[in-house]
């Protein structure tokens, strides 16, 4: 095992999959000589050549649309959207085309396609380099959506996504890129899409999260542990399909559930998780299902004080955990 950063795990997964399978290639803005603005594709151009590491024109709908076409031909494109905020021009290609290809052709055509996009804030990105966009996609049948929190899961899920025969949106929290490190095996492995992971065992309250906030949740869990509150933490990892049984099991374990995400609350992933629990584990509940999420504003402001005000901090989470535990 080696200690790797989150972004190294992205890069390793890409390199290993490209070496393993000649139908894998990457395309996107600045992915070539620049190695991506976050350096996720660094070195790939040198190793695999310009044909398989394609600097695309600045046009996201074409990046996704061309990738769809290539995937129909049997390639396995990994498209990079430079910032998740800029996936919006490609929504039509993603939802009308990639998501519906297999269904509309009655299983005749399909898209083995991965779309990687750095999302999330807390990095002084301002309104348009900080957004969480997963809620626009986790609703859509035909898509798979993952949002890993650890380098281990990044590598295993990205490999699984590339080998998947259906379109996968792969959301990388950009604040994790360099701040999160973890053990990553040398040997080849995958993490199955659609499975959550218990990130912390606990008995008093259940906290469900994903991405960067998972780490804040774990920190806050340590804080309240000192006060005698034992938090059980579930990392969703996959947002579509959601791991229903893991969610219900975690909810039933403590009967007190809090869902945490950076994205704003209304209609966010937490809505579905809460609804699922209200539907299938209602009588295990000892407290209302709590959601701690970003505020109902369009995005995270650039000004650092406003940004801080937006972000869910350890103290805010710890406060919510205490409240839930006391209930």
């Amino acid at each position: 095992m080696a200690l790797k950063t989150y972004i190294e795990a992205v890069r390793d997964a890409l390199r290993e999959e490209m070496a393993r399978d000649s139908s894998v290639f990457v395309l996107g803005e600045d992915v070539g000589v620049r190695g991506g603005v976050f350096r996720a594709t660094l070195g790939l151009l040198e190793e695999f050549g310009a044909e398989r590491v394609l600097d695309a024109p600045l046009a996201e709908s074409a990046i996704v649309g061309v990738a769809i076409g290539a995937s129909l031909y049997g390639m396995r494109p990994v498209a990079e959207i430079q910032f998740a905020d800029f996936i919006l021009p490609a929504v039509n290609q993603i939802i009308s085309e990639a998501a519906k290809m297999r269904y509309r052709s009655n299983n005749d055509w399909y898209c083995p396609l991965v779309i990687r996009a750095p999302y999330g804030g807390g990095v002084h990105g301002g309104l348009y380099h900080s957004q969480s966009v997963e809620a626009l996609f986790y609703h859509i049948p035909g898509l798979k959506v993952v949002a890993p929190a650890t380098p281990y899961d990044v590598k295993g899920l990205l490999k699984a996504a590339i080998r998947d025969d259906d379109p996968v949106l792969f959301f990388e929290h950009k604040k994790c890129y360099r701040s999160i490190r973890g053990e990553v095996p040398e040997a080849d492995y995958t993490v199955p899409i659609g499975t959550a992971r218990v990130a912390r065992e606990g008995t008093d309250i259940t906290v469900i999260s994903y991405g960067m906030t998972l780490h804040t949740v774990l920190e806050a869990a340590n804080v309240v542990q000192g006060e005698g509150i034992s938090a059980h933490v579930l990392d969703l990892r996959s947002l579509r399909p959601l791991d229903e049984s893991a969610i219900l099991e975690a909810a039933e374990k403590t009967g007190k559930v809090m869902i945490v995400h950076e994205d704003n609350k209304v209609g966010g992933v937490g809505a579905e998780v809460a609804a699922l629990i209200a539907e299938k584990a209602l009588f295990s509940l000892d407290a209302p299902v709590m959601r701690l999420a970003g505020p109902e504003v369009p995005a995270m402001p650039f000004n650092p004080d406003l940004e801080k005000e937006y972000v869910l901090t350890v103290p805010r989470m710890a406060r919510a955990m205490r409240e839930l535990a006391r209930f």
Partner: protein, 334 residues
């Protein structure tokens, strides 16, 4: 009649058999289309969208492709292209009746949303122009794999105003990919005339903005379309990159069976359009050049009608999809 006129198809390398097959294909598409309107008006199928008036452009284009290996990404009017690439009239009618055997979608999509892997017809959707970047991706992938493949993609002039047109052509231009972009300009996007859709004199004028040639041809003349498309596919095959070809056609029907075009097209205009019926014009060429006599053309028509009758009977009787199919093939199964 001049010798050049007589020899137009021969000069293009097309044999007598070729042009008769082309004529037959145009007529087959037309008669199948006409049948669907009859079925629609009889309340038997809920929707029709037509190729009528476009058959010359479509057959000219399809014959310029290599039907044994090229890929096509047709739009909803491209009935004759689907037939040229191997779909049958039965297939068309199965789709019209939305039966389980519909090769495009098992009855899930509206008619004329073509797609069948074994014919290298890529599945299409309703939102216009999304197929344009797909064609570019197919061409890119084929080149990566070292395959000798040209991708054909078609769309209307109205659809050439979508962002995906621009982004797709630009990508293909930059990477000099083997794609032929085929615009079937019938002068209308539903009710909106071309002049309100775009200010350029010709859609083909857009090609220079993508560093590729742009050719406008008379889409009512199947041989002229063949000539232009052959040059474009040859160019693509030689690795010289994409071409935008615009064929001026006429739309001989309302936009679809849901439309009523009397509000926006005069009957005089329709009369004019009918003079440009590509089947009429090609029939005249064939008789005037002595390739076939009137009787021979009538015989073809008769044969084609029988084929359409048989297909209709088959498709009407065919099984619909099992209701349980609703939930299948959202993701890979097994």
């Amino acid at each position: 009649m001049s010798v050049e006129m007589r020899n137009r198809h021969e000069a293009l390398g097309l044999s007598r058999e070729d042009v008769l097959a082309m004529y037959r294909l145009m007529l087959l598409a037309r008669r199948a289309d006409e049948r669907m309107w009859v079925l629609n008006r009889a309340g038997k199928i809920p929707f029709v969208i037509s190729c009528q008036g476009h058959e010359g452009a479509q057959v000219g284009a399809a014959y310029a492709l290599d039907r044994s290996k090229d890929y096509v990404l047709p739009y909803y009017r491209d009935t004759a292209v689907a037939l040229a690439f191997g779909q049958t009239v039965r297939d068309l009618l199965l789709a019209a009746f939305a039966k389980a055997e519909d090769p495009n979608s098992g009855g899930r999509q509206m008619p004329n949303h073509f797609g069948s892997r074994r014919h290298r017809i890529v599945s299409g959707s309703s939102p216009v122009s999304t197929q344009i970047p797909h064609a570019v991706g197919i061409a890119l992938a084929a080149r990566m794999r070292g395959d000798d493949v040209v991708a054909y993609v078609s769309f209307g002039e109205g659809s050439s105003n979508q962002g995906d047109f621009h982004e797709g052509l630009n990508f293909a231009g930059v990477h000099r990919l083997p794609v032929v972009f085929f615009c079937q300009n019938n002068g209308y996007a539903i009710s909106v005339p071309a002049g309100k859709q775009l200010a350029a004199a010709r859609v083909a004028d857009r090609a220079s903005g993508y560093g590729m040639p742009g050719i406008a041809v008379d889409g009512g003349d199947v041989l002229e379309v063949y000539r232009a498309m052959k040059a474009a596919t040859d160019r693509a095959r030689r690795g010289e990159g994409p071409t935008l070809v615009e064929a001026r056609t006429v739309r001989l029907t309302p936009h679809s069976s849901d439309d009523d075009d009397r509000a926006y097209r005069s009957r005089e205009e329709m009369e004019e359009a009918r003079k440009n019926d590509p089947i009429l014009r090609f029939g005249q060429y064939l008789t005037e050049t002595g390739v076939a006599g009137e009787a021979e053309l009538r015989a073809i028509d008769h044969e084609v009608q029988m084929e359409v009758d048989e297909a209709t009977a088959y498709a009407e009787r065919a099984k619909g999809p099992d209701p349980d199919e609703l939930l299948r093939y959202v993701y890979r199964e097994g």
